[in-house]
C-alpha cells in the first residue's frame, strides 16, 4: 500500500482478467503493478487484479478496501460500463461510497477483444486507466433523481405480442391504451390458418385473447389509430394519438353487418385476404374482428368519391353511419410504452426469377394461409389461380428474401416450420406430391423437429439447394403446362428441373417500412437490418436505451408466436415493475446554470429539444428545469460564459481524463 498523496482522493484501481477474455491480450499483472507505481502520485493507493471482478468475490474485494483503506474513489478496468457500471457502483454503495465515485474502464470491448498485439494493447489499457483515474478524482458524489411514474401504459401494435402485453398490464389492475393502425386488432396471426407445430386453428386460439382485450375495462382500445407525437420522459410521457375517422359512430353501431351486406362497392382485400379475396367499401377485416365496428374505406366509397349512394346509411338500423366524422386527436399521459409494432412481409415480386406476379400459379405463403382458411376466399380449397384446378405437385421454396445477400442476410426463423406446415396441409387436403426446396432445415425449438420428422414420414420430398429459377418454359414434353423449378440438388450435386403445378414462396419477415420513423418518434434506434434495438441483445432484449420504452414481438426481429407472446409478457412485467415502484430513479446527469455568471445572452435558448431551458425575462437569465433535462450536455458545451455546468460529465472530469490519457506522451 503506497501512501496517499496529499490533496488527491484515495483511489483504488481494480483490473479484471475476465477469465482470459482480457488477460489473453492485456498483461493484467503488469497493469496492476504499473498503476500502483505510476499512478501513486495521482492518488492511487491500492491496485489489484482478479479473475472475475464482477463475481461476488470480486465485488467484495472492492467493498473490503473501501471500508478498510477508506477509498474515496474506485476505478474498475474490465468490460464496458454498459454491462457492469451498475454492478460496481452498487458494490461501492454497499460499502458506503457514493456510487458516482466509481468509474469503469472498458479494456475488454475496447482493448483485448479488438487488438492483436499484447504489448500495444497493454499500453492502451494503461493510458485508458490513467485517464479514468484522473477523471474519477474529479467526480462528485451524486444523488439519483426520482420522478413519479404515471401508472397508465401505452401499447403500440395490436398483434399477439401487443395484445399479450396489454392484457398482462390490464389484468394487474393498471390502465392500458392499446393503439392499432388497422380497423381490428389481431395482427398477422389473425390471417393464419393453422399454427405450427401443433396445427391449432390460429383464429381459435387468438380470438379469445382479442375479445378479452376488447372487453377488459382497463384497456382503452384505439384501433384505426396512430401515435403522432410523444414528448416527456419515463414516468411522464405525453402522447398524441390520431383516431382516424371510421365514419361509423361506435356508440350506436352494433356490428350487425347490414351495412357491408348492402354496400354495392367490392374492393380487392390486399391486407387481410392478401389480395386473394374481396371486401366491401364499408367493412370489418374479418368476422371475428375486435372491435366489431366497421370502417368506411373513404378512397373506395362511392359516396365519398361520387357524392351519391349512402346505401349503408339508409339501411343502418341504428343510424350509426356518420359521413361527417372527422379525425380525432387524443392526448394521453402514460408512464411507460411498449412497442409491438410487428413486421412486414417480404415482397415476393422482388425475386423476379421466381416469377411471382408473372406466373399465376406462384403463390406467397400468406396467400396460401388464406387459401387454406375455411373462412378464406376459396373456403379452404387449395386450388390454382383459376380457383378450380387442384394441384398434383406443389413446390415450396424456402428462404425467399431471407439468408440472401441480395435481399436480407438474416434468417426469418419461421419459414422452415411454416413450409413444413404447408407441406402437411397440401398432402392432407389434396394428396399432391410436395417438394421442399431448402438451404438448411432450421427446426430448433420445442417439438419442431418432431414435426419435421412427421412431414418426412408423410412422404414430402426434400431437395437441398437454393432454387435458381421458376419458369414455365418447357424443354421436354412432360414439362408442358407446368412450372419448372430449376435447382442444384447439393446432396447429389446435380442440376435438376422439377415440374410442378403450384409453387409456394415461403417469404420472410422485414422490419416495418416505417420502423425508423417510429423509432425516432419514441427516441429509440434501429439495428442495421432495421429492427428495433435492444438495450442488450442477450441480457435485456425487451428494454431499449430510452428509459420507459420497451419493445416486444417481431418489431425486435423475426420470431414465432410463442416468442412474441413471451416478449409481450416480459415487457409487461418490466412495466409493472416500474409502476409498482411508484417512482423511477433517473441518472443524476443534469445541467444547471450558475446564475451569477449567466449573462442572459440566450445562446443556449434554442438548444434544448426537451424544452428544459427557459429564459427568465424579469431576471435576465436562463434557467434549466432538472426534471426535463436529459443530461445530453449540449448547453454545457455551448455556454459562452461557461455558466452552465453538467454533473457526471463536467469539464473538470473530461479535462482531467484528457490529461490522463495523454500523460505518457
Amino acid at each position: 500500500m503506497s501512501e496517499n498523496t496529499p490533496n488527491k482522493p484515495k483511489i483504488g484501481v481494480y483490473t479484471c482478467h475476465c477469465g482470459t477474455n482480457i488477460s489473453s491480450m492485456v498483461d493484467v499483472e503488469n497493469v496492476r503493478d504499473w498503476a500502483k507505481e505510476h499512478l501513486g502520485s495521482e492518488g492511487v493507493i491500492v491496485s489489484r487484479d482478479y479473475k472475475f471482478m464482477c463475481s461476488s468475490l470480486g465485488q467484495e474485494l472492492i467493498e473490503k478496501d473501501i471500508k478498510e483503506l477508506g477509498l474515496e474513489r474506485v476505478v474498475v478496468a474490465a468490460c464496458s460500463p454498459h454491462l457492469h457500471e451498475k454492478t460496481f457502483r452498487g458494490a461501492s454503495e454497499r460499502a458506503g461510497l457514493n456510487p458516482y465515485l466509481t468509474e469503469m474502464v472498458s479494456i475488454r470491448e475496447q482493448v483485448s477483444w479488438v487488438h492483436t498485439d499484447k504489448v500495444v494493447a497493454t499500453a492502451k489499457a494503461k493510458s485508458l486507466i490513467a485517464g479514468t483515474v484522473e477523471r474519477v478524482a474529479q467526480n462528485a458524489p451524486l444523488e439519483k433523481l426520482k420522478v413519479p411514474i404515471n401508472a397508465n401504459t401505452l401499447v403500440v401494435g395490436g398483434g399477439i405480442s401487443g395484445i399479450q402485453a396489454a392484457l398482462e398490464v390490464a389484468n394487474a389492475g393498471f390502465h392500458v391504451y392499446l393503439v392499432e393502425r388497422e380497423p381490428s386488432i389481431g395482427g398477422h396471426m389473425a390471417q393464419f390458418d393453422k399454427t405450427f407445430p401443433t396445427l391449432d386453428c390460429s383464429a381459435c386460439i387468438l380470438t379469445p385473447r382479442m375479445v378479452e382485450a376488447g372487453s377488459n375495462p382497463n384497456i382503452t382500445l384505439l384501433t384505426w389509430s396512430e401515435v403522432v407525437s410523444v414528448t416527456g420522459f419515463v414516468g411522464a410521457f405525453n402522447v398524441t394519438i390520431k383516431k382516424k375517422a371510421r365514419f361509423v359512430n361506435e356508440e350506436l353501431c352494433t356490428g350487425c353487418g347490414i351495412c357491408w351486406e348492402k354496400c354495392p362497392k367490392s374492393v380487392i382485400d390486399d391486407v387481410y385476404e392478401a389480395g386473394l379475396g374481396y371486401r366491401k367499401a364499408v367493412y370489418t377485416p374479418f368476422a371475428q374482428a375486435v372491435p366489431k365496428y366497421p370502417v368506411i374505406d373513404k378512397p373506395n366509397c362511392t359516396f365519398f368519391q361520387k357524392g351519391t349512394c349512402k346505401a349503408c346509411e339508409k339501411f343502418c338500423p341504428t343510424n350509426a353511419i356518420d359521413f361527417n366524422q372527422k379525425d380525432e386527436y387524443l392526448n394521453v399521459e402514460v408512464g411507460n410504452v411498449i412497442l409491438a409494432t410487428g413486421y412486414d412481409l417480404f415482397d415476393a415480386g422482388r425475386v423476379t426469377n421466381y416469377g411471382y406476379g408473372r406466373l399465376p400459379n406462384v403463390f406467397t405463403s400468406m396467400e396460401f394461409e388464406r387459401m387454406c382458411n375455411a373462412s378464406g376466399p376459396t373456403g379452404g380449397e387449395i386450388t390454382l389461380r383459376d380457383g378450380i384446378t387442384k394441384p398434383q405437385t406443389v413446390g415450396i421454396i424456402h428462404c425467399v428474401g431471407s439468408r440472401d445477400k441480395n435481399y436480407n442476410n438474416y434468417c426469418s426463423t419461421i419459414c422452415c416450420m411454416q413450409s413444413l406446415k404447408f407441406a402437411h396441409l397440401v398432402k392432407e387436403r389434396t394428396g399432391a406430391d410436395v417438394y421442399e426446396f431448402y438451404i438448411d432445415m432450421r427446426t430448433a425449438a420445442k417439438s419442431y423437429d418432431e414435426f419435421y420428422q412427421r412431414v418426412l414420414d408423410e412422404g414430402t420430398l426434400f431437395v437441398r439447394g437454393k432454387v435458381a429459377e421458376v419458369t414455365d418454359a418447357a424443354r421436354q414434353p412432360h414439362e408442358k403446362g407446368k412450372l419448372i423449378v430449376q435447382v442444384e440438388d447439393t446432396l447429389i450435386g446435380k442440376q435438376r428441373r422439377i415440374p410442378v403445378d403450384m409453387v409456394l414462396l415461403s417469404i420472410g419477415m422485414e422490419p416495418r417500412a416505417d420502423a425508423k420513423e417510429t423509432g425516432k418518434l419514441f427516441g429509440i434506434s434501429c439495428s442495421s437490418d432495421g429492427w428495433f434495438m435492444e438495450r442488450h441483445p442477450k441480457l435485456d432484449p425487451i428494454s431499449t436505451m430510452t428509459e420507459g420504452i420497451y419493445i416486444a414481438g417481431c418489431a425486435t426481429g423475426p420470431k414465432d408466436i410463442p416468442g412474441s407472446v413471451s416478449q409481450g409478457a416480459a415487457a409487461a412485467a418490466r412495466v409493472l415493475d416500474k409502476i409498482l415502484q411508484k417512482e423511477v430513479e433517473l441518472e443524476p446527469i443534469r445541467a444547471s446554470v450558475n446564475e451569477n455568471k449567466c449573462s442572459g445572452c440566450r445562446i443556449c435558448n434554442n438548444l434544448c429539444p426537451f424544452s428544459a431551458i427557459s429564459f427568465m425575462p424579469e431576471l435576465g437569465i436562463t434557467r434549466i428545469n432538472p426534471a426535463l433535462c436529459q443530461g445530453c450536455g449540449t448547453c454545457v458545451a455551448a455556454c459562452p460564459a461557461g455558466a452552465i455546468s453538467g454533473t457526471g460529465f463536467s469539464n473538470e472530469q473530461i479535462f482531467a481524463q484528457i490529461d490522463g490519457i495523454l500523460m505518457g506522451i
Binding site: 470491448e109 479488438v114 485517464g131 425516432k520 436529459q630 453538467g646 460529465f649 490529461d659 490519457i661 506522451i665
Partner: protein, 152 residues
C-alpha cells in the same frame, strides 16, 4: 511496424451510439487499430471545442468525434449541433495550422461496430500520413523560474 509513426488519437464518443458501436465491435471481436483512446460523453452535443484543443495541445496527433447518425440522435437532434461546432472548429484550427484532416467527425449507430472499426482504421491511416503534430508543451513559469536567479 516498429519504425512507422503511430499516431495518438483521442476519440470522443456519444454514450448511446458510437460508444456502444465500440462495444458491438468488441463483442464481435472486430480487429482495428489501437491508436484511438475513447472518452465517453453522453452525446456528441456535449463536445466542447476546448476538449479538442486540449487534446491536440496535450500531445494528440488527431481527434475523432463520433455521434449518432443525423436524425438518429438519442437526444433527438443534438448531433447536428455537434456538426456545426465541428465545422467551425475545424476552420478555426486551420487558422492555427492544424490540418483539417486531424479532426474528424463520423456517425456510427450502436449497431455499426464494423463501420466504427473501419472508420478508425481509415482515420489512423489519414493521421499517420499527416505525420506527428507534436504540439509544443509550453514551458511556462515553472521552467523559467531559474531565469530569476540569472537576472538576480
Amino acid at each position: 511496424m516498429s519504425e512507422q509513426f503511430e499516431p495518438v488519437i483521442v476519440g470522443f464518443t456519444c454514450n448511446w451510439c458510437s460508444y456502444r458501436a465500440a462495444d458491438t465491435a468488441g463483442t464481435a471481436r472486430v480487429k482495428y487499430a489501437p491508436n484511438v483512446r475513447l472518452i465517453r460523453l453522453m452525446c456528441s452535443g456535449r463536445l466542447d471545442p476546448t476538449f479538442v484543443m486540449k487534446a491536440l495541445a496535450g500531445g494528440a496527433d488527431g481527434v475523432l468525434i463520433t455521434g449518432c447518425h443525423p436524425g438518429d440522435c438519442h437526444y433527438i437532434e443534438q448531433n447536428y449541433k455537434a456538426l456545426r461546432r465541428f465545422l467551425l472548429l475545424r476552420r478555426t484550427l486551420a487558422g492555427l495550422g492544424v490540418e483539417p484532416g486531424r479532426i474528424k467527425l463520423i456517425w456510427a449507430s450502436a449497431a455499426e461496430g464494423l463501420k466504427l472499426a473501419h472508420e478508425i482504421n481509415q482515420f489512423v491511416e489519414e493521421v499517420r500520413a499527416l505525420g506527428p503534430l507534436n504540439w509544443p508543451k509550453w514551458n511556462d513559469q515553472p521552467a523559467e523560474i531559474d531565469a530569476v536567479k540569472e537576472v538576480a
